[in-house]
């Protein structure tokens, strides 16, 4: 027995970053907007209460803010003919849930994109020749340029109060900023966070080794700040409990600390938590959405009619919802036909661990989510790939996240894992070990994709999303190169010891047991041609023009940078197109 609700102008499916951005933008345009969020209502006073939030076991280890996998997860397999099995415990990536989504418990690493990454295929073909890109690698150009997105990167940074230092202001290079970045129209809204001792040492070592360190852009405010919506944020106090936690200082940008205080008070906006959307309903032509069907917190099935449906959930959920709704043709890796689910990508993570001399006092518990030192010399196409023979690069950074003892008490390889020798090693290492993070790009491949699992179902009886993923040789070679290069920094730091940790080595299988990155991308990719993409340059479905799909599901492949800056910029870019073009003349914004 389905209950039918009063029609809304717009329904948003999922209420994290992109839901908040679209909600704010479209209510500003006068539309009546409803956000459906499957998780709970969340806010700073309830979910970031001090000191209860300073609880590593509850948040980082048992995952208080993550998706409840007992109800819904994904399945994973390595190859297209393998059996997929459920991702039963959180490991490799941490799916979000609830109002604010993963935007409530991210670090705030707020990068843009290196301009060449948006025209990746063209850039490599022009610089290295058409045959440089290996068989089976399906990298693409984004159908949008850095210059087109620049105002939207800026807008999102100013909403977040992001701290950092421009390296390229309108073409003028500035010391202390990133010399490789695309030109900015404005500097960051707040100055860089102060660096701790570890970041100072990495910065100095990087300069000595010939790299170009810069202040890592952090959506952790460095000063009191009022954003363009009139919402106030406070300065980061280096508490060391950022990612996996909500911020009790109102310093880390999240929907709750930047947009919701304004949006939730609007008469033309409503959020319904505990509303699990089952599908987007289509009319008899299959080319128009009529609304969405969801199950509410009381278990009632509800049809919510709407003129415009915007998919604003996490990347994997966006793709799953399109597949469950029959929007777009599912991708088939064997025939190459279809588009939904294609070009899933991930990140290749590694690190250089540095053991400093005895007596060094890093005070590792003094941490931020994103402030520190970052390096792009080996990122994007900022170095000559010709003799190296691989595609891609890595974002390199040292950010001291904190010294949380369950997860942040490393020991030198070869140390016993228990007993007095372990205790003594933990005590010795805690104050003098630091980690330089290597976050490698991952290309798209014909044999990596998302579809619906034939066996496993969620608590509503719907098929789980199936992830077919494994590493490719290209990424193993990339990470080997980056590990070698960044070891030069450790050498320059006069380390007692240093060693490279790299999950992506030749022949290594994708291992879901260890946290790597929550930066999953693709599956509903943007493109210029409906034959090989799911959405157009304004993130509008080619097949059902009153459906838009936000998020990193639009990325044709993944980059070394963290994706949130690009996700936010694309959401503001799409919102402008909806406001200025779509509303005047609803229909396709790009002719196929």
């Amino acid at each position: 027995m389905t209950i039918t609700m009063k029609k809304k102008d717009v329904v948003l499916i999922g209420f994290g970053w992109t839901g908040a951005i679209l909600g704010q933008e479209l209510t500003e345009a006068g539309l009546d907007v409803l956000a459906l969020e499957r998780g709970e209502m969340r806010d700073t006073p309830t979910d970031a209460r001090y000191p209860q939030v300073i609880d590593e076991l509850a948040y980082s280890i048992r995952g208080k803010l993550y998706q409840d996998l007992s109800r819904e997860t994904v399945t994973v397999r390595h190859g297209v003919d393998d059996l997929a099995v459920p991702y039963r415990q959180h490991g490799s990536f941490l799916l979000g849930n609830g109002v604010g989504g993963a935007g409530l418990h991210w670090n705030g690493m707020h990068y843009r994109v290196l301009p060449e990454e948006l025209q990746l295929r063209t850039r490599y073909e022009q610089r290295y020749g058409r045959h440089f890109i290996p068989e089976g690698m399906t990298i693409r150009d984004f159908p949008v340029t850095y210059d087109e997105l620049e105002p939207f990167f800026t807008k999102f940074e100013y909403v977040c109060g992001t701290s950092g230092k421009a390296g390229n202001l309108g073409g003028r290079k500035i010391e202390g900023g990133n010399p490789f970045e695309g030109p900015r129209s404005k500097d960051y809204p707040t100055p860089p966070l102060h660096n701790g001792y570890g970041a100072d040492l990495v910065w100095k070592g990087a300069v000595e080794a010939g790299f170009h360190p810069y202040y890592a852009p952090a959506a952790n405010c460095s000063t009191p700040y009022t954003n363009p919506y009139g919402v106030r944020l406070g300065p980061c106090n280096f508490c060391g409990f950022c990612e996996n936690y909500a911020c009790y200082m109102y310093s880390k940008a999240s929907p709750q600390t930047t947009i919701l205080p304004v949006l939730l008070r609007k008469p033309n906006f409503e959020v319904r938590p505990r509303a699990q959307v089952l599908k987007i309903n289509l009319d008899s032509t299959g080319k128009k959405a009529t609304g969405v069907t969801y199950v509410d917190g009381k278990g009632r099935e509800i049809f919510q009619p709407a003129d415009l449906v915007i998919v604003t959930a996490y990347q994997m959920h966006n793709v799953r919802l399109l597949l469950l709704s029959g929007i777009g043709k599912p991708y088939n890796p064997k025939t190459g036909e279809g588009v939904v689910g294609m070009n899933y990508a991930y990140q290749a993570m590694g690190g250089v661990e540095v053991l400093l001399p005895s007596g060094t006092r890093l005070n590792p518990f003094i941490g931020t989510g994103a402030g520190g030192v970052s390096i792009d010399d080996v990122n994007g196409d900022q170095f000559d790939h010709g003799p190296l023979g691989f595609v891609g690069g890595a974002s390199v950074r040292h950010v001291r996240l904190g010294g949380r003892p369950i997860q942040m008490t490393p020991t030198v390889p070869g140390t016993p894992k228990w007993g007095s020798a372990w205790k003594s090693a933990v005590k010795d290492t805690y104050q003098r070990e630091l980690h330089i993070d290597l976050s490698g790009s991952v290309a798209a491949y014909q044999d990596v994709y998302l579809d619906l699992d034939p066996t496993y179902r969620d608590s509503y009886g719907q098929p789980l999303l199936r992830l077919t993923y494994n590493w490719h040789d290209n990424e193993a070679r990339l990470m080997h190169h980056v590990g070698d290069r960044i070891s030069e920094i450790a050498k320059a730091m006069n380390a007692e010891k240093y060693w490279v940790t790299n999950r992506v080595t030749p022949g290594a299988k994708y291992d879901v047991r260890f946290y790597q990155s929550t930066h999953t991308t693709g599956g509903a990719i943007m493109g210029a041609d409906p034959r090989n993409s799911v959405v157009n340059r304004y993130l509008q479905s080619w097949d059902v023009p009153n459906v838009f799909v936000m998020g990193s599901s639009a990325f044709p492949q993944n980059m070394g940078y963290n994706p949130t800056g690009l996700v936010g910029a694309l959401a503001y870019w799409a919102a402008k197109a909806i406001r200025e073009q779509y509303l005047k003349n609803p229909g396709p914004l790009v002719q196929a």
Binding site: Y50, P51, Q52, I54, D55, E56, L57, A58, I61, R62, D68, L69, S70, E72, R77, H78, L83, V85, P86, Y87, R88, Q89, G91, L193, H194, N195, G196, Y197, D200, P235, N237, F238, C239, G240, F241, R361, L362, N363, F365, I366, G403, P405, I406, T409, K417, W418, G419, S420, K423, S424, V426, K427, Y430, Q431, R457, K509, Y510, D511, V512, R513
Partner: protein, 234 residues
Amino acid sequence: MTQPDRRGFLRTLVSAGPAAALAVGAAPAVGHAVETPEASGGAYAPRYFTAAEWRFLRAAADILIPADENGPGGAAVGIPEFIDGQMEMPYGHGKLWFMGGPFHPEVAPELGYQLDLVPRDIYRRGIGNFDAWCVKTHGRPFADLAVAEQTAAMHDLEAGRIVFADVPSATFFGFLLTNTKEGFFADPIHGGNKGMASWKMIGFPGVRADYMDWIDRPNTPYPYGPVSISGERA
């Protein structure tokens, strides 16, 4: 974040998994309400573990984290209490995991945990199997072995030299070590880390979580001791 129940003196064993059938002679109390020695002194009475399992956990905690010049041992800092508390949480019941079938434990290990066992099962079967191995090999359960024998047995377990009948021994060891370290390092509100012993050992200030005045003091000792969620100082 439930506090261990310090009032209960008697605990009824509700769920004896398949390993109960394996209960060795030296584990006399399986299947019956048990009063532990600690309980009769007014201290902690385990809610999930049997008396025999409890003796194992206390002994194992002291082998994995021994009392030494760097601080007290695992039993003294409450690691058994922590693990017992976790067994009563959604975690112990496997409620944080996707547990829908079918189960395919034969797939590549890189695809993650694929057993149909939750932590309560893993401990019940694992402790039963490990104690049975100790009895068979050394004539006594783990808790009654000499420290050198316990240490050697733990090394055998870690190295995969012991095969269990009811749960993969590596799985049991993995949970035991992981949960032991969680209990050692987590906030005392969860039952372990008594006196914030591990935080004092490494110099972690606990919930102070405000270092605005310290970010600009490189390579300087931080002078304040830890504070816990409940406001305890050390």
